[in-house]
Symmetry: C2
Subunit: 373 residues, 2 copies
Amino acid sequence: VRPPGPAFGVCDPPGGVCLLRGDEVLDLAGLGLEPFAGAAAAFAAPTLGPFMAAGREAWAATLDAVEGLRPEPFTRPAAEVAPRMPFAVGDYADFYASEHHAANLGRILRPGTEPLLPNWRHLPVGYHGRAGTVVPSGTPVVRPCGQYLDGDAPAFGPSRRLDVELELGFVIGTPSPHGRRVLVDEALEHVFGVVLLNDWSARDIQAWEYRPLGPFLGKSFATSISAWVTPLLALEGDRIALPPHEPPPLDYLREPPWALDLGLELELNGTVVSRPSARHLSWSPAQMVAHLTANGASLRTGDLLGSGTISGPAPGERGSLVELSWDGAEPLALGDGSTRSFLLDGDEVVMRGDGLAPVTGRILPAEGSAGAI
Amino acid sequence: VRPPGPAFGVCDPPGGVCLLRGDEVLDLAGLGLEPFAGAAAAFAAPTLGPFMAAGREAWAATLDAVEGLRPEPFTRPAAEVAPRMPFAVGDYADFYASEHHAANLGRILRPGTEPLLPNWRHLPVGYHGRAGTVVPSGTPVVRPCGQYLDGDAPAFGPSRRLDVELELGFVIGTPSPHGRRVLVDEALEHVFGVVLLNDWSARDIQAWEYRPLGPFLGKSFATSISAWVTPLLALEGDRIALPPHEPPPLDYLREPPWALDLGLELELNGTVVSRPSARHLSWSPAQMVAHLTANGASLRTGDLLGSGTISGPAPGERGSLVELSWDGAEPLALGDGSTRSFLLDGDEVVMRGDGLAPVTGRILPAEGSAGAI
């Protein structure tokens, strides 16, 4: 995949807003650039919030100002800085925008029925996740405990079906007022940038809890994102047109169909197990924003919109282990000779994507357990 | 119902933390009380956050310090102050803890099947709602637009089945670390207080969108809460023992069963249409906290846990219009001679509860419409 950046984050040293390009980090606060009014204060902040709230012209002016700029005293190797959580998450909404993923899960969970539910082609299906447990790349993930069915009886213990979901995350910059919807052709004014997102999932907990109100504790224990946010403006060259939606969406979701053609990688313990592309998202971030606000819900700076797991049509393009191992029927072979259907304690997951900062996470044993899984 | 208070909020004038008792407001910041270390700064804050984060001993010391205190220069009529949103909402999780409500919806939505789904008796079913659209009592609610089925075809427009849900909301004070669960017998250390909560619901949008990921835009347009938070410590006299859970819950949810015996009222355009009691919640706030954190999810100060709609066994004890009108089959008669199955533009909803501050809201016409509903 293409090296990350230009992407924005916050790290120590030097503190404040920095720019990642490949393996170099540029200290924007130290540099003293003023590409928009209020930039000095925004770049000195401990999160990307003020910069993201400054709006699309400020983002564009900043990208212009740093183009080609590599002043030695303000440039460091990326390996020498420790990025922090780049922004405070407002609300985290997660969609289900990859047709191959939705259809695979339908085939696995509801065999013998139509794989896609009737609403899927008409709206970007989604739900709210837990914002307080979104963590930056590198944060270890404790195996969750929870309630699941053991045969016919509910039991409580460490999840035995711990999975990953490879997604894009779209980060809201410009807020919108409560009670007013954002039109689909205005929506990208509000989207600052893109991260990789690992929507860790405990399939056993999820399967038992999710009727009728949807996923809850099977997801809420942790969601990992890239520590650097790549502006959508820096990915304009990656936009591709998609074939027309069938059926055509209702007016409030209608725009010329498009996606970001970003190559992605899912690596488990050093073996790349899947190579999806973000071109396999049927709903665009503009459509997600238009749908999310169609009822008058406001956007806040730092709202995070997950795309849902991204899977392509080929078996080697699936974005979750439950799909890659077909619910455990076809365990994956790793480079060390071991196999996996779901994650074991100590497993290390890395997700990469063209122009995006990686997201990594290692599984720690469940609370109170001694690494039995 | 019993008058509200003691309950804490933030209002102008005087700014800072105030105490509501019946129809009087006490200005804690002005008063200069120091019932715990850091109290002066906490009471001067523009939200309840610092006070709620100070912990249970600080809450108890404050209640002790104000007991019987009515110093004239710092006491005002409640009608003369304008309360603001009392705290910044972290995550908003909503449960489904009233058996009669869950069973009524099962009968309405899945006629001919077992009203309760198999997981309901084993865990407090819940999901995450949108924190950014939680508003204080008195905030008008714009009728949401959205996608719903019109006959067999999806359509977009103002919701025609706008409903209320009468709930309690439990507000988290003391945070908990990520990766460590809160045990059921420690859980109340974290719960600062209680509000009334109106989980406005667009039934037509919800019915079309909710499979398989749960409610989303049918709920996310607005959630109203009391502007004053009644400490759980002030409601200890309202605790009652419940009969044993059948089947007994798993260990992580096990405690002597209890509920708050708080009488509640739902009023529509001046007519009280329902009188449920919070005694009809089968899962306690302690069980909700233990379940929510069982997977290691953290609690943050300001997290809001909705109980789910509260309905009792009698027809006059139902907490939503879809139940009260039995999905429109039995419209409600109001005092002005009109009838309602769902809300019309201009309708005013008031919820009251023993010791709790009321939550009110009026329906404004949908964006771009001229009051056609």
